[in-house]
């Protein structure tokens, strides 16, 4: 856990990563908040806040008396959300920095292509 962002947001992201990475397929049960709390050594209420964040977004849903499950279509929605973030957090600064260094659009595309070829 890092200090720059609220822990519950980080917990939500960890679950999202597991869903995107396939470790938590759709319709499988996610660990309980107490499990998350014990594993990450955080307050169970904080872990619960992270889980609830994803419930609010419809990524997880609750089966009464059983626990939390990954919703249908969760993965594709998360991927779409992450693509937007990717644009904002990676591509935009990349273009800004390239502009500062006088790298043209063609050169930038060429550089990305080189990286992809490796």
């Amino acid at each position: 856990m890092d200090d720059s962002r609220p822990i519950f947001v980080q917990i939500a992201e960890l679950i999202e990563n597991d869903i995107i990475g396939g470790a938590l397929p759709e319709e499988t049960q996610v660990p309980s908040t107490n499990d998350f709390a014990a594993f990450h050594r955080i307050n169970p209420a904080t872990a619960g806040k992270g889980v609830n964040l994803l419930v609010d977004e419809g990524i997880l849903y609750k089966k009464r008396g059983i626990g939390m499950f990954v919703a249908e279509g969760a993965r594709s929605r998360l991927v779409a959300k992450r693509r937007d973030q990717f644009q904002n957090e990676y591509v935009r600064p990349l273009v800004t920095e390239a502009g500062k260094l006088g790298i043209t659009e063609t050169q930038l595309v060429e550089m990305i292509r080189e990286e992809g070829a490796e």
Binding site: M1, D2, D3, S4, R5, P6, I7, F8, T33, N34, A37, A38, H40, R41, I42, N43, P44, A45, T46, K49
Partner: protein, 296 residues
């Protein structure tokens, strides 16, 4: 959620010293609180008042809705683990663990057994002969196994090694998950416990200066680093918690920054770094006016 502790305008004087100064707050049920502050800030006095071990000079204390002083039905719901707990001279740890259930109706003997193994506490040695850490582990075991609906740990781990402290945190979280209760943890090792806390109370010179949700508090400050002119321009109309200057460089701690402000700082070539709960509390309890003016 209901309040377990309600304190209003509480004051405690010791002759000319005001240890607790007109303090008001509430403690909600089934949350883990951190009671933080410097030495002599009033933490222990406050906990002694809340557990009926001392009399208030002024103000009102309600624990489970009642005054805790000489109130057996309330006090049996309360466990208070002190830094320097004294035991009768000839006591051995087994005597402590045998007598604990007399005072705590929710005592779990099996849990206590497991904790004794975890902490490797020798049951048959005289308490006088125990090491400082072993002595502390008795308190931790009693505090956890008592499962009191309101449990105070006042700097419970003097002399406990890093392994034992980690065991304490792990067992506390596990057991709290299964048996929710209100825990008030007072400590100087803020970084170690900060992720366990749900709510933070900071006391300084007898006054509560922070009473906030731990998550809110965590993001509530940022350190801005860069050239002196750029930093000064950026922080000009903000509340500054701390300033450091080295030559032409400045490092200034300010309050929460929004996304737009973060971008603005990045554009100005400033570096932003998070402030840990421990650093934040050091900043908040350490701002002497003189120091502040000298650096400014």
């Amino acid at each position: 959620m209901s309040a377990v502790v309600e304190v209003s305008h509480l004051t405690k004087n010791f002759r000319s010293v005001t240890a607790v100064d007109d303090v008001s707050f509430t403690v909600e049920e089934n949350m883990i609180y951190g009671l933080l502050g410097r030495n002599g800030a009033g933490k222990t006095t406050l906990m002694q008042l809340l557990t009926g071990q001392d009399f208030a000079t002024r103000g009102d204390i309600r624990v489970f809705g009642e005054n805790p002083v000489e109130n057996a039905p309330v006090l049996q719901l309360v466990s208070f683990i002190k830094e320097s707990q004294k035991y009768p001279d000839d006591f051995k740890p087994k005597h402590v663990l045998k007598s604990a259930p007399w005072f705590f109706p929710f005592w779990d003997a099996d849990f206590a057994e497991r904790l004794i193994d975890d902490f490797r506490l020798p049951l048959n040695r005289r308490i006088k002969k125990l090491s400082r850490g072993q002595l502390s582990s008795i308190g931790v075991i009693v505090g956890l196994a008592s499962r009191a609906p309101l449990t105070f740990f006042d700097e419970p781990y003097l002399g406990l090694d890093a392994v034992a402290r980690q065991i304490f945190y792990d067992r506390l979280l596990e057991d709290y998950g299964e048996h929710p209760r209100t825990v008030i943890l007072s400590t100087h090792l803020i970084d170690e416990v900060s992720n366990l806390l749900e709510h933070v109370l900071v006391i300084d010179e007898g006054k509560i200066i922070v009473d906030q949700d731990a998550d809110t508090l965590r993001g509530s400050a940022t350190t801005v680093v860069g050239t002196r002119t750029a930093v000064d321009a950026f922080v000009a109309d903000r509340e500054v918690l701390h300033r450091d200057y080295v030559g032409g460089l400045a490092s200034v701690t300010v309050g929460r920054l929004g996304q737009a402000e973060r971008l603005e700082a990045a554009d100005a070539g400033l570096e932003l770094s998070p402030v840990s709960l421990q650093q934040l509390i050091v900043r908040k309890t350490n701002v002497s006016q003189k120091e502040f003016e000298q650096s400014a």
